[in-house]
Symmetry: C2
Subunit: 559 residues, 2 copies
């Protein structure tokens, strides 16, 4: 690491994850203005929903800015294996082409992503934790183990001639995390002692006023619950929460139950955790066939679908049976999880279906069976005090979280800046300044194609869902004369409206009347004719069913 040059600068820019919770992607750069060497921290996805992004498969950051500077990227650093941090590695790696760094477990998951996309996985380098250092262009980066709800999470220490940055990644302060690394106060003190320029810090739980609780604290209550339950026990949580899986499985064994894993990601995550040596003493698991034949009070099903996902194991069980297993009166279903805002409907649907089966539902309303993986407000204040940075840059939060985080820090004299996606921050001076606004946004994976959020594809889908569709076809002959009347097909519209005649017929009659009177100039002009047919079709439907559909006009000209 050379000494700082006068016209070199240190920059930070989020491309995803700042102003939203999801699709994390942060860029750091050091060097002459506009020629900085760059590193990327995390390449995550976010999940689509019917409300705003129907039919999509995944959502991830628009990395156009990075692609155009591909030759300046020295490395990609993945902090941990959650989908919102590692999920886009397979999708985006080819566009960036830089080496990927991650700890062993995260690297295992990242390699699976690359393989799924037919890419070589030897671009992933497994890194050792701090004090090991990765030399990467003008940067020296260290992975500092930190506690979170997935094993081997890491905060990054990012050193350059511009100063030291601490990028926390997702974290909580947990001294007894059951599986994975405890929070290590001494290490952070050591890292902080020579001065830290900027703390780029998780903001997810800034609105939670009480100190967070340790993973180990929920074991006894879960064991008691499993002991007391008379029938079959089912528990769901995020499959990547290996510590929780272990807590649940150990509780099951203590309660005389055998553990059966259900759901693809549940099996895959446990496999990855075993492969990487993280789960050495996970209880023996049994296949579904064996679980089905055991007395019900000797079984724990550990299942996917804590967020109400429609095709996960929990949804399938709530609808009847899954792999020969079915639930009934006397069984107990534990949601060892918190509903992510926006997923309530799906979770409630499953709860009610379970209720109809007579299954008792235990959720986390009182916090007995779940703890969060993120630092609460007092824990964030602890982190601020440990690192004592020159300033704070909140990340991993919606706008309201980032803003509150700056406010909370300000109360104790720590200055901060709200930097959202696309805001390039110059960290070179004594306080952070906005260097530039870069155009950013979201890219969609739809089937096998990557499309831009502004391409209008999703807008059209939403319009069709809200308004229904009418297709108007018209044939014009060689002499520019209409051949027959316009024809209407509808989809997603009421068949019959006010006049008790088929809607399509009413529309056809109105369109035929127009065509009968239209002047030859209009008939010859595709653009004008289409516009008129569209208007008449919409007006006709409005009169008939009180609703203006999306109209697709197909004019076929013969000869």
């Amino acid at each position: 690491m050379s000494a700082a040059k006068a016209n070199d600068r240190l920059i930070y820019m989020p491309l995803g994850g700042a102003g939203e919770i999801g699709m994390n992607c942060y860029v750091y750069g050091y060097g002459p203005k506009g020629k900085e060497r760059l590193i990327v921290v995390d390449l995550g996805v976010t999940f689509p929903d019917m409300d705003g992004t129907p039919g999509l498969d995944l959502i991830f950051p628009d990395i156009t800015w990075l692609k155009e500077r591909r030759d300046r990227i020295d490395g990609i650093f993945i902090t941990h294996a959650h989908e919102d941090h590692v999920g886009a590695v397979g999708l985006l790696w080819q566009q960036l082409g830089a080496p990927i760094y991650a700890r062993k477990f995260t690297a295992n998951i990242a390699r699976r992503k690359l393989q799924e996309h037919g890419l070589s996985d030897n671009t992933v380098t497994v890194v050792e934790p701090y004090p090991a250092v990765i030399d990467c262009g003008p940067f020296k980066v260290s992975y500092v183990p930190i506690s979170h709800s997935i094993p081997e999470s890491a905060g990054l220490v990012i050193d350059s001639a511009g100063g030291r940055i601490v990028h926390t990644g997702d974290f909580k302060i947990d001294m007894t995390p059951v599986c994975g690394d405890p929070f290590n106060t001494e290490v952070w003190q050591e890292i902080a002692k020579d001065g830290v320029k900027a703390l780029v810090c998780d903001s997810t739980n800034i609105f939670s006023p009480n100190p967070g609780r340790s993973e180990v604290s929920i074991g006894p209550a879960i064991t008691e619950l499993m002991r007391d339950a008379a029938g079959m026990m089912v528990a769901t949580t995020f499959a990547s929460n290996i510590a929780r899986l272990k807590t649940l499985a150990d509780a099951a064994v203590a309660a005389g139950r055998k553990v059966c894993l259900l759901g693809r990601s549940m099996n895959r995550m446990v496999e990855a955790a075993k492969e990487t040596g993280l789960l050495t003493d996970f209880p023996h698991t049994i296949p579904p066939e064996e679980a089905a034949n055991l007395p019900r009070n000797q079984v724990l099903l550990l299942v996917t679908g804590s967020q109400g996902e429609r095709r996960a194991a929990s949804a399938q069980l709530s609808q009847g049976s899954y792999l020969g297993l079915s639930l009934k009166e006397g069984d107990t279903f534990l949601f060892s999880s918190r509903v992510i805002p926006g997923n309530e409907r799906g979770v409630i649907r499953i709860m009610n279906q379970l209720s109809e089966l007579g299954v008792d539902i235990v959720d986390d309303e009182d916090g007995r069976y779940h703890v969060s993986g993120h630092a609460n407000r007092p824990d964030l204040e602890t982190m601020h005090a440990l690192i004592q940075p020159q300033f704070l840059i909140p990340m991993h939060g919606e706008h309201r979280h980032l803003r509150e985080h700056v406010k909370v820090a300000g109360l104790r004299g720590l200055p901060g800046i709200v930097a959202v996606n696309g805001m390039m921050i110059d960290l070179s001076g004594n306080q952070p300044t906005v260097a530039e606004y870069v155009e950013t946004g979201r890219t969609y994976l739809d089937g096998s194609v990557q499309i831009g959020a502004m391409d209008g594809v999703v807008r059209d889908r939403i319009r069709m869902a809200l308004n229904g569709v009418a297709v108007v076809t018209l044939i014009i002959d060689e002499n520019d004369e209409p051949l027959g009347d316009p024809w209407v097909e509808i989809s997603g519209l009421a068949e019959v409206g006010r006049s008790d005649t088929a809607l399509a017929e009413v529309m056809e009659a109105d369109l035929a009347q127009f065509i009968g009177r239209a002047d030859p100039k209009t008939i010859r002009d595709d653009v004008k004719l289409e516009k008129e047919l569209k208007n008449i079709a919409r007006r006709s439907a409005q009169g008939e069913i009180g609703k203006k559909p999306e109209v697709i006009v197909v004019i076929s000209r013969l000869g």
Copy 2:
């Protein structure tokens, strides 16, 4: 009321509201089996969402069963003026045709609904509260004032030769409700003293373990908040929560602020409450123009949109300005409300937009600024103890709420039955029994048309939103020969896929190839031809963009 006859029976059947929260509609009947005279309690709506019911205007119960027994309906009783109880009166009254009973404020709202549908409002009779009695066929019905989050809510005492039923309607136990009727323990004791057969009881808050708090309890904290706020103050709550509007407006006055109402329903509800004499001392309100010209710390905007509704005043303010008013750094926005599950995304969107404007957001995370309108578990137990019915029938809840309510009552020796929509319960014996399962469901208002939930209209919309649409047109001439090649138009699909050519062109080429090879029999057979074109179009798209669209095929045969 004549004495019970041996073969008369007393029945209860929910058509909406039991197994869901929303669109309440309950039927009671008394008389010979299959010839019972009927009364209807509540005609409510529920609101559509993009997830499952895109593009609809309203959702309400399928009342086919009632329509077919129209001559047996003696009256319609509306318990209170919330949309999920009164909202379908205008839409459904013509199909039922019976007199409507309601207390004064509720009647005012019900009449507005009828007028909106061009119906006479003289079918609505204003009733006096208990001990006044409405004679209605074999029933005598009394309206017992009860506290809730809207004025003039009522529980119903429904007497017949089959015994007394107490139908609580929505309620909470509030002795100091600010506006409207306090809970009256003595009256309920009097009603209970001669024995109650069935308590049909609100279940909404059965999972809330602590006793509910009074409306009056939140006034001081709100006043303090409004005093301390430096800038403009904005507060949102349900417009129908007249007591809350008064609490908020009084707090504003105490804090030296003038009150400006924003949003159509806010103005309409305050107007209705004044018309019916419920709001006699509501503070003077000012128009938006005046509010815009006052110092910011002298204004309270009381606005609609507590649930994140896209077109309400709160959403408009969060997006910039509304009626000349705009928010900025230093202003405070109070959500004096709770987010109804499923509405989180909309509310969070507004919160983040406000955060971007620099507005401080205060919500109800700690219960300081909002109390619920429904009885919590201990309050429900109080009601059970007051009424001491032979048995409990929980209503107004999802399946999990109804089931939990029966469980909670059972712990203290009160038997109950989970009766969901369409379950006809015979209340004649010493315990409730299921008499019959009636086919029920939901009816949709879409534009101006009522459509059945099973008509497939919404299913088609959802499919188009998830999969996109391709329209395939083909012209066949008089000799059953294809005239030109098939033509493809797409909507809601990526324009270009794997082969870097327009998707529509790739599909056209695949379809043309098929047509070129198709035997004349296929070309002559509309059904077969359509099926084949659909399959090829879907397969072609799948290869190109990894996604199978909905395909609309239009075959035009000339001559």
